[in-house]
Amino acid sequence: MMPKWNGKRLLIDLGRKLILKEEIDEQERQKYLGGRGLNVSTLLRMIPEGIDAFDPQNVLCFGAGLFTGTTVPSSPRFNVTAKSPATGMLGDANSGGFWAPELKFAGYDQVVIIGKSEKPVFIKIYNDNVSLEDASHLWGKNVWETEQILKKKLGENTIQIASIGQAGENRVRIAGIINNLARAAARTGMGAVMGSKNLKAIVVKGTRGVKIFDPKRLTDLNKKLLDSMYRSPSFTVRSTFGTSFLVELYQGMGVLTTHNSKQGQFDGAEKISGRNFLENYVVKSKACFNCPVHCGHYFRIREGKLAGTEGEGVEFESIAALGSKCGNDDIESILLANNLCNQYGLDTISVGGAISFAMECYENGLLSRNDCNGMELKWGDSNVIIQLIHLIGRKEGIGGLLGEGVARASKQITGSEPYALHVKGLEVPEQEIRGLKAWGLGWAVSSRGADHCRSFPLAETTWKAEEAEKFFGTPKAADRFSYEGKPEMVKWYEEVCAMGDSLELCRIAQVGLNMPLNLLAEIVEAVTGWNLTEHDLLKTGERIVQTERIFNLRNGLKPKDDCLPKRFFKERVPDGPCKGHRYDLSEILDKYYQLRDWDKISGWPGAKTLEKLGIEYNKF
């Protein structure tokens, strides 16, 4: 058996051109595991209160997971965390692909970046050799060009690159960070923070390998895990369609966001369906590192005016954000738009939110053609969508305003606030929450703003009433229109997901395919030698959620921010299976606060809870 697996933290000060390596404290790692958890724990120590997100003192942290780079299936991910320029609170984005495993192979778990470089640079990490390299020839290039140039310049096709496009360089607040051309750490504007530091890319090559405490035991446990994944009811659909099957599923349920969440069903749903995508555009399946679900795809448009457009993708959220949300039924334009967002380095969800916001403003006479570079922002106009993405990426014209995000943009357009759908400054994702009550609560209380991944309450639509009753106390928890049992459900999923994001397991594999928690606890032991139970793991998830809460409170969060856009309170769904439904947060928010031990006035967790979780309150 190998000695206890360990990795290091890279601390890089871009302003002073300092590169330090330090051991990660083992106790901190046992409490926060890695990835998302270790990131927030690190940042809470390092980011001064009250700074602007573009201040050089903002800390940008890339964290690989406890499992990343081992043979644990579907654990290739990393989180990028900093103070968000969109929300002013926790900025946190997650991406897959192959970048994080390479970081682990090089011997690092985390890269912590402070300061601002005088000139554009990229960080080069080749095992022990870490350097800052001139990126002036890359500045202004999009992500795809950047990856191509770097691979050629460095003479290596196997390097892994995380980079920003023009959007991040331009500090567009909805800019993300891209790796492997099409994997995106998209949400909360982490690309803009990277751009504000004059950091173009992080290039990694690693050949030191990841040590494992008990390789034989890990292999045996992984066999069990793989078996359980293959036997999961949704393995077939997820491994064939990826997330694109959700278009048809949500349409049938009446929860496919349409026209900026005015409705839950879209006339053009069939045209942008997973079936159309798979049958007419998919060339093959694609996967992240060591993932047997291979939910990704490579697509190619073979004929028509967009013939030759090809790339990796496309996820449900992007299809809906650039499709039904904007009234757009032209699937080929969605594929092109997805490529453009990956090239510019933009969050497709926020882009869709911003464009549909603009379209609704235009519909209501709040924006004129003059305001929109001569364009008529009509619902469903795919050419307009494409043009707007270019303008947003380049921060030109109306794109400059929309790229600020809907919260800020609506302040510049009188009367537009009702159409700016966000929570805490983050644009809403693609669920019609009036027909998915648990997801709605998740949006309201998520630590990064409106988000569908912090809590991923699949039980609401996939569990039987008896199961739901056993677990959440009421059979109505399995009724997507009911509020009962939802606070308990959201709390539980938030902890499962926070823990998962720190091991850096993929949400689709871990939650979508029901990875057994007790098996994960055994796997943690096989990887690290630590004796953690299933209960310990869940507690870690709770600890991470509460630590993120403290981060937000220190950055100005108030209980009134745990809210939803008024549209969902005031307007009833006009037709379809969710016809007549509204959202009423009052019932369940109080209950959720109780479960979290959050004070109603201040929003702070109680001292007993922090003590129980071992969060050193006074330190913060």
Binding site: F105, N157, I212, P215, T219, K286, Y298
Partner: protein, 136 residues
């Protein structure tokens, strides 16, 4: 005897094969030690498994001055004898496909040995881009 067949059209590029190969042979996960490689062209979406072809007249075996590379009739793989190999690297030069390398720690040649007849890479390929064919 077996042969591993490759279908590069369906390979998803996940590299699970590299990970398990490295773990089985070296006890650590490190693509440097994987006996096979997935050549990825992300701009075209191509993923091409590159494995030792266990050549009929293996140049690596022919060129070895120690006779350290021998064909195993039971498995169908050319095997490097760790005791006999002196790490001269002539085999590395002889192979046109970069499928035999000198181990950075042990300083002897290493290559795909078909895991003694039960290749782990094939076992872990969910899409069956790697499959076994039983030959004579």
């Amino acid at each position: 005897m077996i042969k591993i067949n490759i279908d590069k059209q369906i390979c998803s590029g996940c590299r699970a094969c590299e990970a398990i190969c490295s773990l089985c042979h070296e006890g650590t996960v490190n693509p440097l030690y994987a006996r096979l490689k997935i050549v990825k062209h992300e701009e075209t979406g191509e993923d091409i498994p590159a494995l030792c072809l266990q050549c009929t007249s293996a140049p690596c075996a022919e060129v070895c001055p120690q006779g350290a590379i021998e064909f195993n009739k039971k498995t169908g793989a050319w095997i490097v004898s760790e005791e006999e190999c002196i790490g001269c690297g002539l085999c590395v030069n002889a192979c046109n496909f970069d499928m035999i390398q000198i181990h950075p720690q042990k300083n002897i040649a290493f290559k795909c040995d078909y895991c003694g007849g039960d290749p782990q890479c094939v076992k872990h390929c969910q899409l069956k881009a790697l499959t076994i064919e039983i030959t004579k």
